[in-house]
Amino acid sequence: MNNQEAQFVLSAYRPGGQDALDPAFAEALEQARRDPLLERWFNDSIAFDRAVTEKLCAVEVPAGLRESVLAGSKVSRPSRWTKPFVRWAIAAAFVLAAITGSLILREAAKPHLAAWQTNALSQVSALVEGHAKFDAQSRNASELVAWLRENRASAVQNLPPSLERLESLGCKTFFWEGQPVSVICFQRGEGGLIHLVATNAFAPFNRMGKSERKFVQQGNWATVTWRDGASVYMLALEGSRDQLQSYLL
């Protein structure tokens, strides 16, 4: 590194010394310690930077700006009830509550299965509402499946053929009763989203028959849960049972 290169790097060194431990500056700093000319340039540069910072921070802010910001934000903040996103979230919360109630009633004999479904729907809802983020994002679902396998998070063995044709958005993993669960979100061709939740077929699913498909339709939401070998899947979408059925063919 010559002095010109060192000057280039040291130009990004903050005058407060916050970057003293940043390895990107180590070589240039060492060179400045060895070379008196470079050291002089560096000291001058730091002094100049400090002076500019002081001058800038001394710029006066117009009187009343703070009050204006606070008052303006208050009146400009959209009403919680009129924001489309919040309206949707509230509607979704009602639907989820209804689904939860329905699941509990219908699956009273199998509380664990209902609890798993409820939990899975909550995770899906959190993703859709933006309260949770994807762990990985790709438009290619096979890449997401590969990512899930690499991270030992997936029980996805085979995607339903109808989903393979869809563009994916991303995936998320979580745990339920110590078991890894994964969600992959897809964009439906006709608009909207469809979500595939997968987990290992552990205790709550022991009674499920191999060809058994459990549909739950509540409000705008339709879900179907089934077992395939060592895995259990649930599909969820905003739509009808028929629409959901079309993804199982």
Binding site: Q7, F8, R14, Q18, L56, V59, P62, S76, G130
Partner: protein
């Protein structure tokens, strides 16, 4: 975010945001507008931010984007070939004690916009080169290059201002003297 949290955020950040806006925008009024608009956006979208520690960089990034967006509406953004800008070695060193804050803001405003944004974030809020790269969505090498060359340009502008001020003093004093005698 509660009203109290929002007020605390405003108290902490409105002044530095205004100063950042002032170096970007044409006037104090535009800078105040940018500051206000940034907080409006925070009020509407800030809740989507998962990590509270990112609030500060979110505000600065948003103000910068608002500035760019506003400017695009005013005039088509000219493409600045920074590689063609002169790359003079720093041989000049202005006497900073002789310059006030206004002169520094004016000198920054005279720089090409890409230099201006990087330098202001560096000086005003002491953002690191990595943070600036992330906020402005440009490579780290570009940030370093703009800092290095932007500082050289800033020094030159400040020197010019200093010399100009000195000339004014020399030319005005005799006039004043003559007026006194008349």
């Amino acid at each position: 975010m509660s009203a109290i949290d929002f007020q605390q955020l405003v108290d902490r950040q409105y002044a530095p945001l205004f100063r950042f806006g002032l170096t970007l925008a044409k006037s104090e009024a535009d800078a105040a507008d940018l500051t206000q608009q940034t907080f409006f956006l925070w009020a509407a979208k800030g809740h989507q931010l998962r990590d509270d520690s990112k609030a500060k960089s979110w505000l600065f990034t948003t103000l910068y984007r608002e500035f760019l967006s506003k400017r695009r509406h005013e005039v088509r953004f000219p493409h600045v070939e920074l590689d063609d800008a002169s790359d003079d070695d720093v041989a000049v060193s202005p006497n900073m004690n002789a310059l006030d804050s206004t002169a520094v803001v004016e000198a920054l405003r005279e720089l090409e916009e890409p230099f201006r944004a990087v330098l202001t974030l560096f000086y005003l809020e002491q953002f690191s080169y990595q943070e600036i790269a992330e906020m402005l969505e440009i490579p780290i090498g570009t940030v370093m290059s703009r800092l290095s060359r932007g500082k050289a340009h800033l020094r030159q502008r400040l020197m010019t201002k200093q010399e100009s001020d000195a000339r004014k003093i020399v030319s005005i004093s005799p006039e004043k003297g003559r007026q006194t005698h008349e």
